[in-house]
């Protein structure tokens, strides 16, 4: 492609954007709003993902042992558990250790249980699986082993959590796909109007022998510019807003482990730009198709 052609394409694209000022403004606004929602949703999704991961990592199975179990039987059981393929780690917690832990958490409230025979707790195993999703299955297996009084892993909570994060992911993807499609459609319509306004020009170009790509490029560049500007604005907004949100959370909700801005913002900016440019370019190609016949 000739350099003077490139200059011509950009000049034509800019001229058209300026000439159709309001329309250009409208389509940039549409892309901006769409990508702002999209970007916020991505950030939300990343953080939900991170928080559930954190929770998942903390979930473990607690197995309470029968009281009359001898030391060697406890050891046998421990070996049986560690040999389950999904199991990562088994920790033995004696009832004395459990009591001490409780006392360090609750203090005075549980004083006076140290004497022999007064400790109401049981010896237990704390078991971690290699992946959190295996917990329900492992818990079921453990229930069938002899010498185990009770298996506890917060059944409901864990299963609901897994179902919830799965749903969030799919709904999020569908939602984002829908938004991107809407933006594509709107840009295509905007460019279609600018193409319409220049139908005569396009026809003359065809009659004097302009190639199809020569006719297309200014419109594609126009779409790419509109999409790109439409992506840059929400990227800047998110950059600023997310920094604020993370700073605020650090002070007010310090236990909520948000993903640090520097880890996500660059890739989100790139992604938004890519989406904006693709939507713009694709939108104008789609709206050009009809006009290039003849």
């Amino acid at each position: 492609m000739l350099i003077r052609n490139i200059a011509y394409f950009f000049k034509e694209a800019m001229r058209s954007i300026v000439r159709n000022g309001w329309m250009s403004f409208a389509s940039v606004a549409v892309v901006t709003v769409t990508l702002l929602i999209l970007g916020s949703f991505m950030l939300l999704n990343i953080n939900v993902e991170q928080i559930t991961q954190e929770i998942k990592d903390q979930v473990e199975i607690v197995v309470y042992l029968d009281e009359e179990l001898a030391g060697s039987e406890v050891e046998q059981l421990r070996v049986a558990v560690i040999q389950l393929p999904q199991v990562e780690e088994v920790r033995y917690v004696s009832k004395e250790q459990a009591l001490a832990r409780l006392q360090s958490q609750l203090g005075e409230l549980v004083a006076g249980y140290e004497e022999e025979g007064r400790n109401p707790l049981r010896d237990s195993f704390e078991i971690r699986t290699k992946i959190p999703e295996d917990i329900p299955a492992v818990a079921q297996t453990l229930q069938t082993l002899p010498g185990i009084a009770r298996v506890d892993y917060g059944t409901d909570v864990v299963e609901k959590l897994f179902r919830f994060t799965g749903a969030v992911r799919w709904v999020g993807l569908a939602f984002m796909g829908g938004l991107a499609f809407t933006a594509l459609f709107l840009i295509a319509n905007t460019i279609k109007l600018t193409v319409n306004a220049r139908a005569k020009e396009i026809m003359i170009m065809k009659w004097v022998g302009a190639t199809e790509w020569f006719i297309r490029w200014p419109f594609v560049i126009e779409g790419v510019l509109l999409g790109g500007i439409g992506a840059l604005l929400p990227a800047l907004a998110l950059f600023y807003l997310y920094h604020e949100v993370v700073a605020w959370t650090k002070v007010n909700l310090f236990f909520l482990p948000l993903v640090p801005p520097q880890m996500v913002l660059v890739s989100i900016t790139k992604l938004l730009l890519l989406i904006g440019i693709t939507i713009g370019g694709l939108g104008s190609l789609l709206s050009m198709r009809r006009f290039l016949k003849v």
Binding site: L2, K200, M203, I204, W207, V208, G209, A210, E212, F214
Partner: protein, 229 residues
Amino acid sequence: MIDMQHVNMVYPNSVGALKDINFSVERGEFVFIVGSSGAGKSTLIRLIGREFLPTSGSIRVFGKEITRLRRREIPLFRRSIGVVFQDFRLLEKRTVYDNVAFAMQVVGASPREIRRRVPEALEMVGLAGKAKRKPDELSGGEQQRVCLARAIINQPSLIIADEPTGNLDPQTSLGIVDLLKTINIRGTTVIMATHAKDIVDRMKQRVVVLENGKIVSDEQKGGYSHHAH
């Protein structure tokens, strides 16, 4: 230069517009296509410009079968023909100069070449002094001259014109046809569809008469009056 063999054209939902047309034009000829309204003149002109394909038959232009041109070959083919329309089709927002330069820009001519050739073409059509005007500041005849300058700017060897004087008064029309004749004398083949009886009679060029999609007469140095209405 142009050779049509057994060309039939049937538009969708319509009777045949052209029926078994056999017709050829040599390099350097000036040909009028005449006939009553609906006879098929425009259809013939548009087929030569490869605006659409005939229903059947062969159309060779510059020795090339244009019914078999690939899509991306069409622009290159169009560069070798100049087209003049009844309704001028100028860009209202651009000056006379830009309207002509535009045709060079879109085929990738260099700015130097454009600066050299556009004034030449405007000079040739007698508009040298009006380069900076917009189309709506010109008379109809002048607008058609701009259109002619645009048609010749890429130095085509063939010009096709569909009623180029259809919107002009007789005196102005004569000026346009004289200009086409001048272009023709310099070596460009011209095919022009028209209803302008006086002009056809006066020019003494080849006249092809169409009637209901058929060629009913084809005479060198013909006239309009004996045939059509």
